[in-house]
């Protein structure tokens, strides 16, 4: 029998040909309850065609298409990674000053045998959870909680692993009044202060200050079709082009793909995604990130704390020496 992937529900514009083929496959599957060999044969053929199409489309995604893939509703989110990769996950809540912010989840956990402090931005997967997690846009309390947890890691000499998937820090009255800028600045400062390994992985959207607040790490990984940018393409278009409909052009100009960021030395490693993107085979994507994180963690093992911190800072100071001529 051909590969039985769950049927996709959310297709992106440029995935039209695949949507059509997969609809056909679905139809045939319904017909084939009797196990008709011809139909099974046809399904296998069509599945091969789907794979070829996917390979072609995903091998040369434009920056704007990657933006759509990175924001795909079926793409695995932080909680999917946490469920699959972490044992004994013990979420720890609150910033001890004002509130608990569910846009950033963090706590103690065991990752492939190692106790770690894990911190991640969570966008939510359905309407209720999206509202609860504020679509992954944290308030100052989220960054203050992150900072508190990083300090906890420092105290017990535990590695820190951060998962980044956020449109950015929340722009609101309360967020500003309670010091959004200061909270982000302190979170970055803490990332650059700790004497423990700090690994970050951009799994979806790396939105500006809200992303770097958690991603000033020793090793920064990025999924193949994730994006990481100083501003959203929409925001950039409305400021520099004065037209929101130039977002596609802005996406290209910003060079926000993992491939460009690797060339610029901003990220350390690209984690390949399953054929057709992480949203098609979330388990595979999650496992690939787990393996890459484990390798990165092992590479930092045994390095003295002061050296870890000095190297982390050195890495950021050196960024900017490579361009994309």
């Amino acid at each position: 029998m051909a590969d039985v992937r769950a049927p996709m529900r959310n297709f992106l514009d440029f995935e039209k040909p695949i949507a059509e083929l997969e609809a056909k496959i679905e139809e045939l599957r319904h017909l084939s309850s009797s196990g008709d060999l011809n139909i099974i044969d046809e399904v296998t053929k069509l599945q091969g065609k789907v794979d070829r199409e996917l390979r072609q489309i995903y091998a040369k995604l434009s920056a704007w298409q990657k933006v759509q893939v990175a924001r795909h509703p079926d793409r695995p989110h932080f909680t999917d990674y946490a469920k699959a990769l972490l044992e004994d996950m013990t979420p720890l809540a609150g910033d001890r000053g004002f509130a608990e912010d569910a846009a950033i989840i963090g706590g103690l956990a065991r990752f492939r045998g190692n106790s770690v402090v894990v911190i991640g931005t969570e966008k939510g997967a359905d309407t209720a959870s999206r509202v609860r997690h504020n679509f992954g846009m944290a308030h100052p309390e989220g960054y203050r909680k992150a900072r508190r947890l990083m300090e906890l890691a420092e105290r017990f000499r535990l590695p820190i692993v951060t998962f980044v998937d956020t449109p950015g820090a929340y722009p609101g009255i309360g967020a500003e009044e309670r010091g959004q800028a200061e909270a982000i600045a302190r979170s970055i400062e803490t990332c650059l202060s700790v004497h423990v390994p700090l690994l970050s992985v951009v799994i979806g959207e790396g939105g500006s200050g809200g992303a770097i607040a958690l991603a000033a790490g020793n090793t920064v990984l990025m999924l193949e079709h994730a994006i990481y940018s100083v501003i959203s393409p929409e925001g950039c278009a409305s400021i520099l082009w004065r037209r929101a409909d130039q977002a596609q052009v802005a996406a290209e100009a910003l060079r926000l793909t993992a491939q460009d960021l690797k060339k610029l030395g901003v990220i350390d490693r690209i984690v390949p995604e399953p054929l057709g993107g992480a949203h098609r085979e979330p388990e595979k994507a999650v496992a690939a990130v787990g393996d890459a994180l484990e390798a990165a963690l092992n590479a930092l093992r045994g390095i003295e704390g002061g050296v870890l911190r000095a190297r982390r800072r050195e890495k950021f100071l050196e960024i900017g020496q490579k361009g994309l001529a």
Partner: protein, 307 residues
């Protein structure tokens, strides 16, 4: 000087800006719209004599106003940064925009770092120039900021940063975002050397600049009325679909919310800084200078062993 030598030809920009007088002579206060004569404005440190509005200042001017005898040396980053690393183009090529802005503003980028004395105490001051692409922070700004911080460490000077910036420079994409951690590292090096770092927030201090070095001062000072915040007011309004409260993101509002130490009138800034720097750096009654980071003298005086 007579009226002939004093006359300055209007620049092209002014024709576009529709001011009916050359702005070298007269400036309209952006707040109360009073026309202000340039000499009067200059003698009043570019603060509107009518409504006390603090106008934006060019970086070089700020350095002159702060240092003893208006004297300072500029500090440059050790190496030139890559020009237009992303080959960015919006409605104009970034490389061209940079060259035009350099020609129009007479500065290389949006920051000048000066080294000199303030009240006799050595200080390094990094000042943003809003005239240069809205004071936006890209690689050149980050590098100069770090060079300034390191110079402060090297000479055991205090480090001051005066921000006036819309945030990160979008035309440098992710590399501008990377100036957040990079400038934070500069601040950390100063602090870890036991030296004071004072952040002075001028109008405006927003986006990536507020979310990095500008909010990490040992002491946080702002100019009256300065807009300070992370997200732009328009973005917030569009997101929450509510009108913003009066004075939102202004220095006074932030101080009332507990985010700033002091709001200081430009006339008082230099004296305030001298007072603070002396309190921190000359802690003994005799006024004898103590090396910062060396608690020995103070402890010895109190009959404790030095550390």
């Amino acid at each position: 000087m007579n009226w002939i030598t004093n006359y300055v030809r209007p620049k092209l920009q002014q024709l576009v800006r529709k001011t009916d007088v050359p702005d070298n002579l007269w400036t309209k206060c952006p707040k109360c719209e009073q026309m202000l004569y340039h000499r009067e404005l200059e003698s009043n440190l570019y603060v509107c004599p009518k409504c006390d509005h603090h106008l934006r200042l060019r970086a070089a001017k700020r350095l002159e106003l702060l240092f003893d005898e208006a004297t300072y040396e500029t500090i440059e980053a050790p190496a030139e940064v890559l020009l237009d690393p992303l080959c960015f183009r919006d409605r104009k090529r970034y490389a061209d925009r940079l060259k035009e802005t350099q020609a129009a503003t007479n500065v290389k980028d949006a920051i000048i770092v000066g080294e000199g004395r303030i009240g006799g105490l050595s200080a390094v001051v990094a000042v943003f120039d809003f005239e240069f692409m809205g004071g936006s922070m890209g690689m050149a700004v980050g590098d100069a900021f770090i060079a300034g911080a390191r110079r402060a460490v090297e000479t055991q000077a205090s480090f001051l940063a005066i921000s006036s910036s819309g945030g990160a420079r979008m035309q440098e994409g992710i590399l501008s975002l990377m100036q957040l951690p990079r400038t934070v590292i500069g601040v950390q090096e100063v602090k870890e050397a036991g030296l004071p770092y004072i952040a002075i927030l001028a109008d405006p201090t927003t986006g990536g600049v507020s979310a990095s070095f500008a909010m990490l001062g040992d002491i946080q000072i702002a100019e009256p009325g300065a807009v300070i915040g992370f997200a732009g007011a328009r973005v917030i309004e569009e997101t929450i679909r509510q009108t913003l409260p009066d004075g939102f993101q202004r220095a006074e509002y932030l101080r009332d919310k507990g985010m700033l130490d002091l709001i200081v009138h430009r006339r008082e800034l230099r004296n305030t800084l001298i007072r603070i720097l002396r309190l921190i750096r000359n802690p003994l009654p005799s006024g004898q200078v103590v090396k910062i980071g060396d608690a020995g003298a103070w402890n010895a005086k109190r009959g404790r062993p030095g550390t």
